[in-house]
């Protein structure tokens, strides 16, 4: 894991100190709310419905136990004893007091954490595959390049006031666990036919009111050119992005307006200029080596591929066997597993984790996962390096902490934004809809029978709940002051990315679980072989599902 050097530490400490001064000046009236708002947002502090909300950056979703314990401490000391993991691998605290925010930033800085650039029209926290360093699929460790981007983009003078926010996501695996195609820049590490490491560069994806999947503008960018090429993309965007219209200011609108080919042409021309005029635009090899050194392969033990203890527990405990089927994934190292911890217990708020649970996960990560803990964009947690021998004991400890829900990827593993229960932008609540659907499908056997089905819920068109890429997407809308929910089908944020299509007229809240049930039943009736819901939908189209949900209305 990357450890801050003296420069990183100084940046974060200075920023916390600077923010203390800004808060002080706001409280005394030296600066206005309009002036202060830009400053607090650049430090991740929002004013929401009931209190301030602080969004803490978790670079590429990677934490150690010390950092997670500190987040637990902040939840206990400054919030109401819990935190909320977001779809960008960050953590939000929903009950923050402005006067205490500087103390929180100081506390975060002590463990190399901060809230810089978790809001504002700048380059936001870089997200990545939560299985990085643990999956055999990857050609290189995406955390190395995510960290390069983090350092480059932090307080970047040219890109601190972009037309709109800007989000990178990085993966090095074929299986996309980072929603690459719905980011402003999605980077897919690969090796070309010559075996050279490089990136497929996708630009202009995003959700919100105008969703787009990012087209690839360069099939193979030599890895060492990542920064100069990113600079070229950002520069073209900075030059032509629509600053006159907030709703058309994201890079996706520019790419769509110019066309991917023309956008790519302009980027290539800008890149050529940068390379010619700015020989230090890319990272020197020595600095790249320093960063890479922080992610050297773990000291895995040499173990047999099978574990007698693991196999015995699986044979003797049905609940454990279910946990293994759904939450335990293949690791690159024989004798190890990737273990996903679901934050989607039936009836719970998706992504919420109590301070006690944070402490428990920190302890378990330290004990069983080489002190390595990850956050997923699906609002769950991952212990990436667990010995198969240890999985039964880990499962028992998770059960004791209320964290053993065996539903990863199933219908109750729902993404939901905070919605109108917390968010000042929301039109409708998202959390209670997620809870009611999860409760409706609480039968674990039925959930497994249904198989992979990703429901994603947003409380407004900004789409923080990723509804555009849900197998079933649900968007909360305000219909003459009442909460209604528009269902969409057929989206995917994975390697088979697609945007969902609207099913039909929006439904009242109490109709949503029933409608999802009707969709599911129709799918089960139509399913062929091992098809997932998404496969069946793509084969048969919208009509049968529309008929299932709206038949009564005709």
């Amino acid at each position: 894991m990357y450890r801050y050097d003296s420069i990183d530490k100084a940046i974060v400490e200075d920023r916390a100190q600077e923010f203390r001064g800004q808060v002080s000046r706001r409280l005394t009236g030296e600066i206005t709310e309009d002036q202060f708002k830009q400053m607090r947002l650049m430090n991740g502090l929002y004013l929401q419905l009931h209190a301030y909300m602080l969004r803490v950056a978790i670079p590429y979703g990677s934490l150690n136990s010390r950092q997670l314990r500190r987040l637990a401490h902040i939840a206990r000391t400054f919030d109401k004893g819990y935190g909320h993991f977001t779809t960008r691998q960050n953590m939000q605290f929903h009950w923050i007091k402005l006067a205490q925010a500087p103390d929180i930033l100081d506390s975060l800085a002590e463990v190399d954490l901060h809230a810089i650039q978790t809001s504002g029209n700048c380059i936001r926290n870089v997200t990545a595959d939560p299985y990085a360093g643990a999956t055999a699929e990857e050609v290189d460790d995406p955390r190395v390049w995510s960290e390069v981007l983090r350092q480059w983009s932090t307080l970047h003078p040219e890109f601190s006031f972009l037309p709109r926010k800007f989000k990178f996501a990085v993966t090095a695996a074929e299986h996309d666990r980072a929603a690459i195609r719905v980011h402003d820049i999605g980077l897919i590490l690969h090796r070309n036919d010559e075996g050279e490491l490089g990136f497929e560069v996708a630009v202009g994806g995003g959700q919100g009111r105008t969703p787009y999947l990012a087209p690839t503008i360069r099939q193979h960018l030599p890895a060492g050119s990542l920064l100069s090429y990113s600079q070229a993309i950002l520069r073209v965007y900075n030059r032509h992005g629509r600053r006159d219209n907030k709703f058309k200011a994201r890079i996706k609108i520019l790419v769509a307006a110019l066309g991917a080919e023309e956008f790519a042409r302009q980027v290539e021309a800008e890149w050529a200029r940068i390379v010619a005029e700015q020989p230090d635009a890319d990272l020197p090899a020595i600095e790249l080596a320093r960063i890479r050194g922080a992610f050297t392969p773990m000291n895995f033990e040499t173990l047999p591929p099978r574990s007698a203890a693991f196999d015995a527990a699986k044979a003797g405990d049905r609940a454990f066997a279910r946990f293994v089927r759904n939450n335990v994934k293949v690791h690159k190292q024989a004798g190890y597993a990737v273990v996903e911890i679901s934050l989607k217990a039936i009836g719970a708020t998706p992504g919420d984790i109590s301070a006690e649970q944070m402490d428990a996960v920190a302890d378990l990560g330290e004990r069983y996962s080489l002190d390595d803990i990850r956050v997923t964009h699906e609002q769950n947690v991952v212990l990436p390096h667990v010995k198969l021998d240890d999985v039964p004991a880990l499962y028992a400890a998770l059960e004791a902490a209320g964290l053993a829900s065996a539903n990863i990827g199933l219908i109750s593993d729902i993404i939901a934004c905070p919605g109108l229960d917390y968010c000042a932008l929301a039109n409708a609540r998202a959390i209670p809809i997620a809870q009611s659907i999860a409760q409706h499908f609480a039968d674990q056997d039925r959930a497994e029978l249904i198989g992979e089905l990703k429901i994603k819920i947003s409380g407004c068109i900004n789409a923080c709940g990723h509804h555009h890429v849900g197998h079933i997407g649900i968007l909360g809308v305000d219909k003459k002051g009442e909460e209604f929910y528009q269902l969409s089908l057929g989206g995917s944020g994975a390697e088979d990315a697609s945007l969902a299509s609207i099913l039909g007229p929006a439904l009242p809240a109490n109709r949503v679980p029933e409608a999802v049930d009707q969709i599911v039943e129709r799918y089960l009736a139509l399913r062929q072989g091992e098809e997932r819901f998404l496969d069946t939908f793509r084969r048969v189209g919208m009509a049968p599902f529309k008929e299932a949900v709206y038949a009564e209305a005709h």
């Binding site: 706001r26 409280l27 005394t28 009236g29 206005t32 709310e33 004013l47 929401q48 419905l49 009931h50 209190a51 301030y52 109401k80 929903h94 009950w95 923050i96 007091k97 402005l98 006067a99 708020t349 109108l420 229960d421 917390y422 609540r429 959390i431 209670p432 809870q435 305000d478 003459k480 002051g481 009442e482 909460e483």
Partner: protein, 120 residues
Amino acid sequence: MKVLTANRLTDGEVVFWRGGHWVERFADAEIFAADDPAGQGAEAVALGQPTVVVEPYLIDIAEGPAGVAPVSYRERIRALGPTNEPEHGKQAEGGAAIEALLAATGAARSTGRVDLIRRK
């Protein structure tokens, strides 16, 4: 009928205007008749208190089955707390005033919020 609301600067707490100062409970808020210029007057005073509150605005309220409550559910959630955590926010206190807010079912957009957005 209208009530003046805002978020308190120091902690973001939802507050309501009552006779020249701010209170935390909706039940304690001063109620202005819809055509009473005193409501706009209070809002003007509140706008001159930038070190006390953020974004003051008037909201519509109406008589519900158990007492007055904000017309929009957004404002009811502000006056109560998040619906997924009944122990968080003002609703944790319980009592008749909270029950009255929970019993309200009317639906309308938060006109005050819309006005605020227009003002920006």
